[in-house]
């Protein structure tokens, strides 16, 4: 910790004059002397920038996790401390921050990386660093396929898995002609690719697709394009503020009256600002607080008590990855990278999303697929996702080292 303190002194003058106690320091980070045996976990995530709303979920869930396990005496008797740093969602920053955590702060476990490009930038370095990375957000199919590295595990549902769940649900629906609108981003491309393949495999038709750049504000021209194509259903793979903007504008154009809109991802983050007009939206869900498992009920209770609102997608996904990590440490009886990899491979666990199994072949956690519909329910200030269909892990997880089906 001397390092940390000396550089704080270095910056003292400028930082103190500018900030003078006005600014909240991230919890735990830099908290003076860590006790020997404290388990330090690195979270280089996007606190600011485009992905800030998702980063906020990672930060708050990390804090809740530390509070919870430390109250119970830690993991295997070791207190947990998170080292959270802002990457702005920029791969180069993420790489530097991760490297600093590993080499300077002697952290060997990384979590909470935000953009897939950040994860893909860090993954080739993991072996050299002898560090472990457990993904809780990154959806790019390639991470467990072409770009697979042994030091990475994906605890979360991937993009292709989400596309698969919604495709399975659509198999039983009357609509036969589909149009896809997705983010011009690796995740969006891989989702649409998987979706189109599955749909055509069912004998339905993909009649067109369009990719909108990240940060698109005006979706009117894309909505016009959908109208022009006149499909029976529209598959949407948009996230964050782009998803919100599209859903709001689609509602304003009453697109849903003519076309059934299904989405790859249903987040409260989008549903809340869209409001009433989100009701009826169907999509796959990586996590929703409405899952009826004992672990989830407990998590939602703790979360709500702490933050006064229900957890969102990446709260749940991040929590699941932390649960997985905790279980692995207990099983391995160590935090050594090699030991953890061994413990994680093939590990089974009942998490907030139900049973999961980490397969050894590509380090993807096999888990159930959920399809939800947004509905208005009493007791919530906003519409909420309600699970309408659950698919067993075997049906939604792709084959080993495959990004597609």
């Amino acid at each position: 910790m001397t390092n940390r303190l000396s550089r704080r002194r270095l910056l003292g003058a400028t930082a103190a004059t500018a900030a003078a106690g006005l600014l909240p320091l991230p919890a735990f980070h830099g908290s003076a002397r860590a006790q020997a045996g404290t388990l330090r976990l690195g979270v280089p995530t996007a606190v600011t920038g485009t992905w800030a709303p998702l980063g906020a979920q990672v930060v708050r869930t990390s804090r809740l996790f530390a509070k919870t396990v430390n109250a119970e005496g830690g993991i295997d008797g070791r207190k947990v401390e998170f080292l959270i740093e802002d990457t702005q969602g920029v791969p180069a920053n993420c790489l530097r921050k991760a490297q600093e955590m590993v080499e300077r702060e002697k952290v060997n476990i990384l979590l909470g990386l935000m953009a897939s490009s950040e994860a893909l930038a860090v993954m080739p370095k993991l072996a050299e660093w002898n560090a472990l990375f457990i993904s809780s957000i990154n959806g790019a199919g390639s991470m467990t396929a072409e770009a697979y590295v042994p030091n990475m595990f994906r605890a979360n549902t991937s993009g292709p898995m989400g596309a698969r769940a919604i495709a399975l649900w659509l198999e039983d629906q009357p609509a036969t002609e589909f149009f896809s609108l997705s983010l011009d981003y690796a995740w969006g491309h891989s989702s649409v690719e998987v979706f189109e393949k599955l749909i055509t495999g069912m004998g339905k038709k993909a009649i067109g697709k369009v990719f909108a750049p990240v940060g698109t504000k005006d979706y009117s021209t894309y909505i016009a394009r959908v109208r022009q194509a006149n499909p029976q259903a529209l598959y949407v793979a948009l996230t964050g503020d782009d998803g919100t903007a599209f859903l709001r504008q689609a509602a304003q154009y009453r697109l849903g009256e003519k076309v059934q809109i299904v989405t790859e991802l249903v987040d409260l983050l989008n549903v809340k600002p869209v409001g009433e007009s989100a009701v009826g939206l169907v999509g796959s869900s990586r996590y929703t607080f409405a899952y009826d498992t004992p672990a989830n009920v407990d998590f939602v209770k703790r979360f709500t008590a702490e933050y006064g609102e229900v957890p969102d997608t990446f709260d749940g996904e991040h929590w699941q990855s932390l649960q997985l990590l905790a279980a692995a440490i207990r099983k391995a009886g160590s935090t050594d990278t090699k030991a953890l990899i061994q413990a994680l491979e093939g590990m089974e666990l009942t998490s907030v999303k139900g049973p999961i199994k980490v397969r050894a072949c590509d380090h993807q956690a096999e888990q159930q697929g959920f399809v939800v519909r947004v509905e208005k329910r009493d007791g919530y200030p906003h519409p909420i996702p309600v699970v309408i269909k659950t698919y067993p892990a075997a049906r939604v997880t792709p084959e080993c080292r495959k990004a597609s089906y």
Binding site: R7, R8, L10, L11, T14, A15, A18, A19, L23, P24, L25, P26, H29, G30, V47, T48, E85, D86, V90, P91, A92, L95, R96, K97, Q99, E100, E103, R104, S116, S117, L120, A121, M123, P124, K125, A140, S142, A147, D184, Y185, A186, H189, V214
Partner: protein, 321 residues
């Protein structure tokens, strides 16, 4: 001028691998690379008043070129760096020819537009560039000549010091050359310089190409440093950051931009480790710096070192007699 500061600087850089371990050496490498990037912009901004909003363009082109030459063509590291500089310079000629037709803000916006187009190409040409994911795991190819020396962290640091140092010397030589002097003349009084017989457009184009080539070298070194490239390298925010580094450090000084780059990177990196609200502090520092350090950090430092007062301000004489 005294040689002492020079020798001290060289000694410090040479001793760095002994004193600094691991991460810090990497950070120093990054500072040097960004310093080179900022210095390359200073060549056109400080010596020719060409304010570029698109300097990320050559930087990203250089980075992608080096990464692709190593990852896809299997070129050895030094050859890939040289190839990247050559590619950047070749691209800079037509782009510069078009941009230098305009002056002032129009020049700035044209450079921005070309850099953004490069971003769009890098983003969409997925098969080559990896699209939004970028290219990860770029290898540092040692090649057949026993150049393994440079592939380790210390070796790469040494290579960076050597190349950045050479680039700095080259830039200083350029500034002192007839062309560099002519460029300053154009900056000071374009009509006068033209009446003397200097061709402002050719001078500006030359400055643009040289500046871009050095930015390409910085990009290539960066790609070799982090072994990862993505279209973000070409984004306008990067252009904005490097502009800030140069102004912060002091324009028209070549050394100032290194200070500016170091300050920018360290501030962003270190303050963001202290608080989530690093941007508030960083922004505040920028505002205060501009107001209290009109000549940038280098200017202030030089003045403090010399203990001298500011040289008398010389305004261009007024039109009225």
């Amino acid at each position: 001028m005294s040689r002492l500061p020079w020798l001290a600087g060289i000694a410090a850089l040479a001793a760095a691998p002994i004193a600094l371990a691991g991460f810090h050496l990497g950070l120093l490498t990054e500072v040097l690379i960004l310093g080179l990037f900022a210095m390359s912009l200073d060549l056109q901004l400080g010596y020719a008043r060409m304010v570029s909003f698109g300097h990320a363009g050559p930087y990203g082109v250089g980075a992608f070129a080096a990464a692709l030459l190593m990852a896809k063509a299997g070129w050895p590291l030094p050859c890939a760096l040289a190839g990247a500089v050559a590619i950047t310079a070749v691209v800079a000629v037509p782009v510069g020819w078009l941009c230098c037709r305009a002056g002032g803000v129009a020049f700035a916006m044209l450079t921005l537009a070309f850099a953004q187009l490069a971003y769009a190409v890098a983003y969409k040409w997925q098969s080559l560039t990896g699209g939004s994911d970028g290219l990860a795991g770029v290898p540092r190819v040692a090649g057949p000549f026993g150049l393994e020396l440079f592939t380790g962290r210390v070796g790469y640091y040494a290579l960076t010091v050597a190349l950045v140092g050479s680039a700095l010397l080259a830039a200083r030589a350029f500034v002192a050359s007839p062309m560099g002097r002519a460029l300053v003349a154009v900056r000071e009084n374009e009509a006068r310089a033209e009446a003397l017989g200097f061709d402002p457009r050719r001078l500006r184009l030359a400055a643009f190409v040289l500046s871009n080539a050095l930015a390409g070298l910085a990009g290539a070194l960066y790609a070799g440093h982090v072994l990862f490239v993505s279209p973000e390298l070409l984004l306008w925010t990067v252009s904005g950051h490097v502009l800030v580094m140069v102004i912060l450090g002091g324009t028209g000084t070549l050394f100032g931009p290194f200070l500016g780059a170091a300050a920018f990177l360290m501030l962003e990196h270190e303050v963001s480790a202290l608080t989530e609200s690093w941007a508030l502090i960083l922004g505040f520092i920028f505002i205060v710096t501009v107001i209290v350090m009109p000549e940038g950090m280098w200017g202030l430092g030089a003045r403090l070192l010399r203990g001298a007062r500011r040289p008398p301000a010389v305004e261009p004489r007024h039109a009225a007699p």
